[in-house]
């Protein structure tokens, strides 16, 4: 039972307005998606708490509004932290599951920050990427173990080996799955436009492909998730690849729930469900209760796409991920998408987001090693995702064995996201995760796609610098080359599964 209509949990942030400089334009009030500001005779805090999304401060023409942490001091306690107290109080008020959005924000540590890259000095030369070719082109998909070539009577050679379908990307970075519903159509369009522009891929998530984005289907990975939303023949056949989504790093073992109030006519049409109905993705696929069931779905999708599209499987990084990934590859997947426990989400129970799963760094390392030991590494590519923040993370992931990485949160930050973690409220002032038309239309795909494309370009250039320093001129020479990594401040128990030495070794 809900005790109070207005929570007694104290606000985390407060807005401070310099009323002397304010020109009363009310842009901040109109801009706030969270109803956290209102205008009486001047701008004052509104009925709802500020979430520090900074839309108001960014757009104030006078620069006269600031957000600060609520100084409402409490006595310090290491066990009963303010955050813990607030969670308890909120649950006492509502009796419900607490929701969060975006990735795990707990201080578990980021292992990328405990890995350092190598460089060449003297004995092998570093390579200047501005003068020499530096190749990042990547192919995702099943590779043959060997190439067979036949020679015609004219002495010309021809390929005898039949290659499985491959996804060609210009740089080993793609966009992560974010459904229409979890993000706005404009946000999704921005990703699609950026992907097309730079030769990357975007991913529909599990919400289907909106009619307006059909022109971007050829660079889209389309998901087939437990709710089967928006899955139809053209959806599969027009795509770049099909992805079976088993799990998500932010909420392993948990399904999805897009509340009916967010299911607009647009979303309903795309998901092929009635407008206003709750869109429920079950926790498991109700036709997959075992690895052999997964194999059936993989081959059903290959049949449906006439073996022209790679079919991948996305899983959350959980404790036994290596054995699971091995099974997935043996079941016929062309790639395995590993989503670590820092992966983002539009909405997830806080307890799940913050406490379930393992770091993708470890998952990636043990999966790559396991597939190699079983001699099946070539049968599938590995995509690594879940908290990839910068080009250094990309390079380290590739050195641990990833074929490519996928980025979600980083792309949203490129759109203006301030990581306020309120996606689940549907009030995103930036129009990224909101379906409210007045908010969603703020996001201009023309401008934002350029920013997302720029991000990929910038990381690509940085990757070239890293490869050059490493003295290799193609990304495949870094892939899985763990001797180019060293651990710092890591225990043996961490170094061993990562397969890297400590600095100084």
């Amino acid at each position: 039972m809900r005790i109070a209509t207005k929570s007694n949990v104290s606000n985390e942030f407060r807005q401070v307005v310099d009323h002397d400089r304010c020109i009363r334009c009310k842009r901040c009030v109109m801009g706030c998606g969270f109803n956290a500001l209102e205008f009486t005779d001047r701008v004052v805090p509104g009925p709802e708490p500020c979430v520090a999304c900074h839309f108001c401060t960014t757009h104030c023409p006078q620069g006269c509004i600031e957000i600060e942490r609520n100084p409402h001091a409490r006595r310090e306690h290491d066990v009963w932290s303010v955050a813990q107290q607030k969670r308890i109080l909120r649950q006492a008020e509502t009796g419900g599951v607490l929701l969060s959005a975006m990735g795990n924000d707990r201080p578990w540590g980021v292992l990328w920050d405990n890995l350092l890259l190598d460089a060449c000095q003297v004995t092998n030369p570093s390579i200047d990427p501005l003068r020499e070719p530096m190749e990042l082109r990547t192919y995702l998909g099943r590779k043959p173990e060997r190439v067979e070539v036949e020679y015609g009577p004219d002495g010309k050679r021809r390929l005898k080996t039949k290659l499985a379908p491959q996804l060609e990307i210009r740089t080993p970075i793609i966009f992560a799955g974010m459904s229409l519903g979890s993000i706005s159509l404009n946000a999704q369009k921005s990703l699609a436009m950026a992907a097309k522009q730079v030769g990357a891929l975007w991913n529909t998530g599990e919400g289907g492909l909106h009619a307006d984005l059909r022109d971007y289907a050829d660079c889209a990975i389309v998901q087939c998730a437990s709710g089967r939303f928006g899955v139809h023949e053209r959806y599969l056949k027009d795509s770049a690849a099909v992805e079976i989504k088993i799990g998500q790093g932010a909420k392993p073992g948990i399904g999805g729930h897009l509340p009916g109030r967010k299911v607009s006519a647009d979303i309903a049409g795309t998901r092929m469900i009635p407008a206003g109905s709750d869109a429920l993705s079950p926790a498991p696929h109700h036709d997959i209760y075992s690895i052999e069931d997964l194999r059936q779905l993989i081959y059903a999708l290959k049949e449906a796409t006439e073996y022209q599209k790679p079919v991948g499987v996305k899983i959350a990084a959980v404790h036994n991920v290596a054995a699971i990934a091995s099974g997935i590859v043996r079941a016929g997947a062309d790639y395995v998408y590993l989503d670590g426990f820092r992966g983002g989400t539009g909405a997830a129970p806080t307890v799940v987001r913050d406490h379930i799963g393992i770091p993708v760094e470890i998952a990636l390392a043990v999966v790559d090693e396991r597939l190699r030991r079983e001699g099946i590494r070539h049968e599938a590519s590995i995509i690594c995702a879940g908290g990839i923040r910068c080009s250094a993370d990309v390079a380290k992931a590739i050195a641990l064995g990833a074929d490519a990485v996928a980025i979600g949160t980083a792309a949203l930050i490129a759109f203006g996201c301030h990581v306020c973690q309120q996606c689940h409220t549907g009030n995103c002032s930036w129009g990224i995760t909101s379906q409210r038309p007045e908010l969603a239309r703020r996001l201009d795909p023309g401008v934002r796609s350029e920013m997302a494309a720029n991000l990929l370009r910038a990381w690509t250039e940085e990757l070239k610098e890293i490869l050059g320093a490493l003295g290799v001129n193609a990304v495949e020479s870094l892939r899985g080359s763990r001797d180019r990594l060293r651990g710092i401040n890591l225990t043996r128990e961490m170094l061993d599964p990562l397969g890297v030495k400590h600095v100084g070794e």
Binding site: R157, L159, S477, S481
Partner: protein, 363 residues
Amino acid sequence: MSSDWTKEISGCGLAGLISRSGAKICGEVPIRAIANLRERGNGLGGGFAGYGIYPAYSSHYALHVMYYRDAAIDQTEDFLRGRFAIEKRETIPTRPTEGISDPPRLRRYFALPHRTTGDPSGDPDAVMSAVMHVNEDIDGAYVFSSGRNMGAFKAVGFAEDVGRFYRLDEYEGYTWTAHGRFPTNTEAWWGGAHPFCLLDYSVVHNGEISSYGINRRYLEQYGYKCTLQTDTEVMVYLLDLLIRRHGLTIETACEALAPRFWKTIDRPDLDPDEREVLTALRITYASAMVNGPFAILFAHSRGLVGFNDRIKLRPMVAAEKGDMLYIASEEAAIRVMCDSPDRVWTPQAGHPVVGWLDESVVN
């Protein structure tokens, strides 16, 4: 998981020659050539490979083994007797030479693997697995040469001293390679000198393989164990895997190891069939691509290949005269072997120079 990624880093000088008509050349010739590249070495390793040098045992595998522990000798010979019929066992002849000290015990065995199936096509795999076993599992024993009618000779010292130590002036072969080494970060030991061999393949190498980590992990999937603490070893194993086990031609294998740049593969004037082959090679053998600076001489019973990295970060010159093909780090080494070559050229980066023994001479 193995974390033994120690590898040797080195600069070096190379010289090699082949008589395509199969004429026998005295081992003194490569000694003089590599002596002229003395500046490229530092006295911490030298070696040679000669082909056609054991005509009396041409169908036997010649196993050259160095022993750093006496106990390893019995252990190895017991093991070898279990796997091979040993036709002849002897100490490798050497002469005391200034500059060569503390040699390990050096023995060679001319042997044929026991056949369980009677099918000689299984021999190479049986030999390879025996070599891998000795090198990996017998402490203090290293098989450093295992081909037929060929042999590798290597030691710590300047290359020309190594050649004289092994009395190479008493051997004759149709193909020779030579190597003078400049290691920079590993303690010098005899096993670490070049060439590196497996079966009848031998490689001498100038450079450092910057992709060593992934090349090694790739090879481990196919049962190759990198035990000699050097990146050159992976080159031998890669060639063995691609040529002998995957059946690629030498030229195609070289294209897999030092692939064309995408901009070349993408060129609209490239034949579409050819593009398909080059693309498939690149994406299939991505982990086999050898990156970083290298120039290698790869010799085998049927010929000699000189081969550079994709952007030619190490020198390599080639020359021809009549049926002779010469390849070396510097022209100076070639001029010692042949004072008036018909043609001298600098091979293009990533494009192998291949000298084949005439078909009529093979076998």
